[in-house]
C-alpha cells in the first residue's frame, strides 16, 4: 500500500517546483515536486515515486525533425519512451484501504474543496470551478497547459494518464476527446468516485453543446475558445459540482424519488396522460415528468424508450438553474447525453403555482406563464425558504412548441382542478422522514437502492450521535455528513470493486470510533447503513434486515412503480 507521506526529494536530479511558481500550494500538482505516483494505463505506480528529471544529457544542437532522417526521429522517440519508463515505477495500483481512512475529528483540513478543470485538446481552458483572482488568473492558464502537456506526453507513448496520487489529494484525468477533464479530490475518496464526478461534468457539458457539435467545432477549429459557447452556464456547472459529492442517487446511477402516497402519485400520473386529440401528435414527445425539488414524482414515456438516471440528473441541473426557476415557464434546448449524445431535444419546464380561488380565474383556464395569484393558505405552501418547488417538464425531440404547450396546459389544469397540485405540495412538505420513524435502535442513517426500480431513498441526516433532536451546529453537521458520506463511498467502491480490487463483495462492515457503516448488496437491493459504533456486528446485520423490511412495507410510497407509458 502506497504510503500517504510524500517521498523525499533526494538528488540533484530532481527539479523542485517553486512554491510561488505556476502552482499554488493547495494545488495537487505542486506535490508532484516531492513525488507522486503516476498511474497510467500501462504503468502502475507503487511506493516508488516519480521525480521530474532534469535534462542531464543536454543536447545542444536541437534540430527540427524535417531536417533529420526518419531513423533519427524514431530513435529519439524511443529515447523519450525510455526516459519516461525510467521515471515511472512498476507495481500494483494502490487501493484505498479502509484502514487508512482518516476519521479523525481533529483533522485540520479534512476535505479541501474539490477542484475541476476542463480543457480542449489544444490546451485551452474551457471551465474550472477554481476561483480565479487577479493574481492567480495566469497561473490557472499555465496549469491548464501543464495538464495538456502531461496528457500529451503519455498519449504520444500510446498511453493514457489516469491519475496522480499525491496525498492529501488525488488528481484524476479523464480523456473525452476533444475535451480533457481533470479533478483534484481528497485522497481518501476512491478514484472511481472522482471518475464519476468527471463523467457527470462531461455529461453536463454535452447537454449544453451536444457531442456532435463539440466534435465538429473543435475538429475544424482546434483553436476555438469553447468558453464562448458555455457562456452563462457557470452557475449551473458550479452548482452541479457542489451537488455531485452529496448525491447518493448519482453515485448509484439511480433516480431519487419523492415519498408519496401511491394514490396521489397515480393521480399525478393520470394528469400527465396526453389529451385524446393529441395522441397522433405524440411521436416526438420523449418524456413528461413531474419533479418536486430534486426528486421525481412520476415520469411518463413512450413505450419503447427508457429513462436514463444520469439524464434525469442533467435535466434537474438545467431546470434548477436560477433563470429557469425564476420564470414561470421556459422552453430550452438540451441534449440528454445518455439518450442520444449527438442530438438536441427541447424541454418545456414550468414551475407550477397554485391558482387563486377567485371566480375570475375560474372562467379562464390557467395557462402556463401567468403570473400567480395566491391566497394565504396557498402562500404558506408555496412561499418560504423550504417550500417545495413542483416542476412539470416535457421533453420533445421536435421544436414544435405548440404541441408541447398544449399538452402542458392540459396537464397543468388537470393538476390544479382536481386539487392534486395542492395535495402534492402538502405531501411534499411532509415527504422527508427521519430514522426515528423506523424505530431501529442504533440506526443513524441509511441509503437504500431498489435495484429493479433503479431508485434510491434515504432519511434526512441528523448527525452521528443519538441526540439527533438537539440544536446541531450546522457546520458540525456538514462535517459529519461529509465524513459519513465518504465512508459510504469507500464501502460502495469496495463492494463494486470499482478501483481494481480483486473481487466484488456482498457485504462490508467498517467500524470507526464514531460510527459503524455497513454495505450490503443483493440482487434486489443495495443498502448502506450507519449505526452507533457500540452496536455489535450481529446487531448491525439485524438493523440492516430491519431497514430492508421497513422499506418493503413502505415500498409503495417510497418508489415509483408502473410509471405511465404512452
Amino acid at each position: 500500500m502506497a504510503s500517504a507521506s510524500p517521498a523525499q526529494v533526494s538528488s540533484d536530479q530532481a527539479v523542485t517546483i517553486e512554491p510561488s511558481g505556476v502552482l499554488s500550494s493547495s494545488a495537487s500538482i505542486s506535490e508532484f515536486s516531492h513525488g507522486g505516483n503516476i498511474i497510467s494505463n500501462s504503468h502502475h505506480g507503487s511506493s516508488d515515486h516519480v521525480y521530474l528529471m532534469e535534462d542531464s544529457s543536454g543536447s545542444d544542437g536541437a534540430t527540427p525533425n524535417l531536417m533529420r532522417s526518419p531513423e533519427e526521429v524514431a530513435a529519439d522517440a524511443e529515447r523519450l519512451r525510455e526516459q519516461l519508463k525510467k521515471s515511472l515505477s512498476r507495481g500494483r495500483e494502490p487501493r484505498t484501504d479502509i484502514r487508512d481512512i482518516p476519521y479523525d475529528p481533529s483533522h485540520e483540513q479534512k476535505f479541501p474543496p474539490r477542484q475541476f478543470f476542463v480543457l480542449t485538446h489544444a490546451g485551452k481552458p474551457v471551465f474550472t470551478n477554481r476561483k480565479i483572482d487577479e493574481t492567480e488568473g495566469d497561473d490557472i492558464t499555465n496549469l491548464i497547459g501543464v495538464m495538456h502537456a502531461l496528457i500529451s506526453v503519455f498519449e504520444d507513448d500510446q498511453d493514457k494518464i489516469r491519475s496522480i496520487i499525491a496525498p492529501p489529494v488525488r488528481i484524476t484525468f479523464t480523456i473525452r476527446p476533444p475535451l480533457y477533464y481533470v479533478c483534484v479530490t481528497p485522497f481518501a475518496e476512491p478514484e472511481s468516485v472522482a471518475r464519476i464526478y468527471l463523467e457527470h461534468l462531461h455529461l453536463l457539458i454535452l447537454s449544453v453543446l451536444t457531442g456532435s457539435q463539440l466534435e465538429r467545432i473543435l475538429t475544424r477549429h482546434a483553436n476555438y475558445d469553447l468558453r464562448r459557447l458555455l457562456s452563462g452556464t457557470t452557475t449551473m456547472l458550479e452548482s452541479y459540482l457542489d451537488h455531485l459529492p452529496r448525491s447518493f442517487a448519482i453515485l448509484a446511477s439511480s433516480l431519487s424519488t419523492l415519498r408519496l402516497d401511491s394514490g396521489l402519485r397515480l393521480r399525478v400520473a393520470d394528469a400527465l396522460v396526453p389529451p385524446p386529440n393529441m395522441k397522433t401528435r405524440l411521436k416526438d414527445i420523449l418524456y413528461a415528468i413531474v419533479f418536486v425539488d430534486d426528486k421525481v414524482v412520476t415520469i411518463a414515456r413512450p413505450k419503447k424508450h427508457t429513462v436514463h438516471p444520469a439524464d434525469m440528473h442533467i435535466l434537474l441541473a438545467t431546470i434548477g438553474s436560477p433563470a429557469v426557476k425564476g420564470s414561470a415557464a421556459s422552453w430550452l434546448p438540451i441534449c440528454l447525453p445518455r439518450f442520444n449524445s449527438n442530438g438536441l431535444l427541447h424541454a418545456y419546464a414550468s414551475y407550477l403555482q397554485l391558482p387563486s380561488n377567485s371566480a375570475a380565474s375560474a372562467s379562464q383556464p390557467a395557462e402556463a406563464g401567468e403570473a400567480p395569484r395566491e391566497n394565504e393558505e396557498d402562500a404558506a405552501l408555496t412561499g418560504g425558504t423550504h417550500a417545495p418547488a413542483v416542476c412539470l417538464v416535457i421533453v420533445s425531440a421536435s421544436g414544435d412548441f405548440e404541441v408541447v404547450r398544449q399538452w402542458a396546459d392540459v396537464a397543468t389544469n388537470r393538476l390544479r382542478d382536481g386539487e392534486t397540485l395542492r395535495q402534492l405540495l402538502k405531501a411534499a412538505q411532509r415527504s422527508t422522514y427521519s430514522v426515528d420513524e423506523l424505530g431501529i435502535p442504533g440506526l443513524r442513517h441509511f441509503f437504500f437502492k431498489s435495484r429493479p426500480n433503479v431508485q434510491v431513498t434515504s432519511p434526512i441526516f441528523n448527525g452521528i450521535e443519538a441526540h439527533a433532536h438537539d440544536e446541531r451546529d450546522q457546520v458540525e453537521l456538514e462535517d459529519e455528513w461529509e465524513r459519513l458520506f465518504n465512508l459510504y463511498r469507500v464501502v460502495w467502491d469496495a463492494i463494486h470493486a470499482k478501483s481494481g480490487q480483486e473481487c466484488t463483495l456482498k457485504l462490508q462492515y467498517v467500524r470507526t470510533e464514531a460510527v459503524s457503516v455497513m454495505g450490503w448488496i443483493t440482487k434486489s437491493f443495495e443498502i448502506y447503513i450507519a449505526l452507533s459504533p457500540r452496536l455489535p456486528k450481529s446487531a448491525a446485520i439485524g438493523a440492516a434486515n430491519a431497514v430492508v423490511s421497513w422499506v418493503k412495507r413502505e415500498e409503495a410510497k417510497l418508489f415509483l412503480r408502473d410509471a405511465p407509458v404512452f
Binding site: 527539479v15 517546483i17 505556476v22 528529471m53 535534462d55 543536447s59 544542437g61 536541437a62 534540430t63 527540427p64 525533425n65 524535417l66 531536417m67 526521429v73 529519439d76 522517440a77 529515447r79 523519450l80 526516459q83 521515471s87 480542449t120 485538446h121 489544444a122 490546451g123 485551452k124 492558464t141 499555465n142 497547459g145 501543464v146 502537456a149 500529451s152 506526453v153 504520444d156 451536444t210 457539435q213 465538429r216 467545432i217 475544424r220 477549429h221 482546434a222 483553436n223 476555438y224 475558445d225 439511480s254 411521436k283 419503447k304 427508457t306 429513462v307 436514463h308 434546448p333 445518455r338 439518450f339 449527438n342 442530438g343 438536441l344 429493479p452 426500480n453 431508485q455 412503480r561 410509471a563
Partner: protein
C-alpha cells in the same frame, strides 16, 4: 464575451535565448520548470489589443529532439507562432525554415497562408562583429515567407518583444473574425429510431 485567449507557440533552436526572452517579457524570475520532462514551459501574459483584454498562453517548447514527436499535440489549436533565432548564429537562422514548415505540417491550421507568424532576432546586444545574420537578410526571408513581421531584440531590451507580441496578438485576432462558427444545431433527433439502451425501464 470580451476575454480572448490566444495560444502562442514559441519555436527556435535551443540556445537562441527563447526562455530568457519569455521570462523577461512576462516579468517572472528565471524559471525553466518542466521543459525537460514534459516538453514545454508555460507562461501567461495579458495584453490590451484595441480595447480587448487578451490573455496570451505562451508555450515555450523544448526544442529538443526527444519532444518533437509531440508537435501535433502541442501545436494543435495554436493561434500564432513566434520564431526565434540568434543573430549571432547563422545556423539558428537557417533552421527557421524547417521550424516554420514543421509547425505548419503538424499544426495544420485552417488558413496556412495567413497564419500569424512573427520572427524575433535575438541577442543583438552582443558585439557587432560576432553577428552572423544581417537584418537585411532576415527581413528578406520574412518578406518572402508571406510578409512575416520582424523584430530584433535582446534580453536587456524588453521593448521590441512587447511590440512583437502586440503585433502577433493583433494579427491573430484578425484571423479570429474570419472564423465563422455559427453552430447550426444538429439535426433533430428521431426518437422513433433506435437509441442506446441501458436506462431504467421498470419505472
Amino acid at each position: 464575451m470580451g476575454r480572448v485567449l490566444l495560444k502562442v507557440i514559441i519555436l527556435g533552436d535551443s540556445g537562441v535565448g527563447k526562455t530568457s526572452l519569455m521570462n523577461q517579457y512576462v516579468n517572472k524570475r528565471f524559471s525553466s520548470q518542466y521543459k525537460a520532462t514534459i516538453g514545454a514551459d508555460f507562461l501567461t501574459k495579458e495584453v490590451m489589443v484595441d480595447d480587448r483584454l487578451v490573455t496570451m498562453q505562451l508555450w515555450d517548447t523544448a526544442g529538443q529532439e526527444r519532444f518533437q514527436s509531440l508537435g501535433v499535440a502541442f501545436y494543435r489549436g495554436a493561434d500564432c507562432c513566434v520564431l526565434v533565432y540568434d543573430v549571432n548564429s547563422s545556423k539558428s537562422f537557417e533552421t527557421l525554415d524547417s521550424w516554420r514548415d514543421e509547425f505548419l505540417i503538424q499544426a495544420n491550421p485552417q488558413n496556412a497562408e495567413n497564419f500569424p507568424f512573427v520572427v524575433l532576432g535575438n541577442k543583438i546586444d552582443v558585439e557587432e562583429h560576432k553577428r552572423q545574420v544581417t537584418q537585411k537578410r532576415a527581413m528578406a526571408w520574412c518578406q518572402a515567407k508571406g510578409s512575416i513581421p520582424y523584430f530584433e531584440t535582446s534580453a536587456k531590451e524588453a521593448i521590441n518583444v512587447e511590440q512583437a507580441f502586440q503585433t502577433i496578438a493583433k494579427n491573430a485576432l484578425l484571423q479570429e473574425t474570419d472564423i465563422d462558427v455559427s453552430p447550426d444545431y444538429p439535426d433533430p433527433i428521431r426518437i422513433d429510431s433506435p437509441s442506446p439502451s441501458g436506462g431504467c425501464s421498470s419505472c
